[in-house]
Symmetry: C2
Subunit: 103 residues, 2 copies
DNA sequence: TTGACGCGTAGGAAGAACCCTACGTATTGT
DNA sequence: ACAATACGTAGGGTTCTTCCTACGCGTCAA
């Protein structure tokens, strides 16, 4: 597991950024417009996302386009899978309980 | 999305605890034995997990058994699903590219 | 009832996170 | 060449996190 993937996603601002990037790459000003904080602060959030590999940067003239990257999210899904098994067992237990109730 | 679910999972110690709890409920001392930190610190981590709903507590004599809870993990899976669609598209694009290469 | 056990919480130190403004750098339009 | 645009980074204040030790409370065993 990448060290600070969860830490990167722990911030609501950064989750909102990743959500915005689902619609495609965007420049920083465009992203910053969605928040009530200074543009440099958004830049710092982008740095955290970049360090976690969640986002990549491509220069385009004087803009920098940030693009969502899939790999860390796949890792997250893999991290989750043992727990997925866990909660499916819980659901199965519940179903069993309900079946007994039907007797 | 529960406010601090990601924050709760951002700590390696807390992820290790949830992983340990996959095998079933455990008392605090049992959990603390897996870490090179003081038992009260582990208690504080458990409080964070409890506040995030990831863990529940059941008193049993003078022990407190901590149990993994499935609900927040299901939420996490749901949060991930739009991104899952996203990375599947990426894989589809890649496959298409490889197909063109075959011409 | 007295002592040991299992645990939570208070208080505090050290470091990290988060936000700001000020400034530097590269690129574009005139 | 010059001003404006788009952005990153430095420096700094404030608050959160994470760990510690000290202590208090409930439970069990003798």
């Amino acid at each position: 597991m990448t060290a600070d993937l969860f830490a990167a996603l722990a911030s609501p601002v950064r989750r909102e950024i990743t959500s915005l990037l689902l619609d495609g790459p965007r420049p920083v000003n465009d992203l910053a417009a969605h928040f009530s904080m200074s543009r440099p602060s958004v830049s710092e959030h982008l740095k955290v996302l970049r360090d976690a590999g969640l986002v990549s940067e491509r220069r385009h003239g004087r803009q920098r386009l940030y693009r969502l990257e899939a790999a860390p999210l796949r890792e997250l899904s893999q991290w989750l899978s043992p727990y997925e098994r866990f909660w499916r067992e819980k659901l199965a237990d519940l179903r069993e309980l309900l079946d007994e109730e039907d007797l």
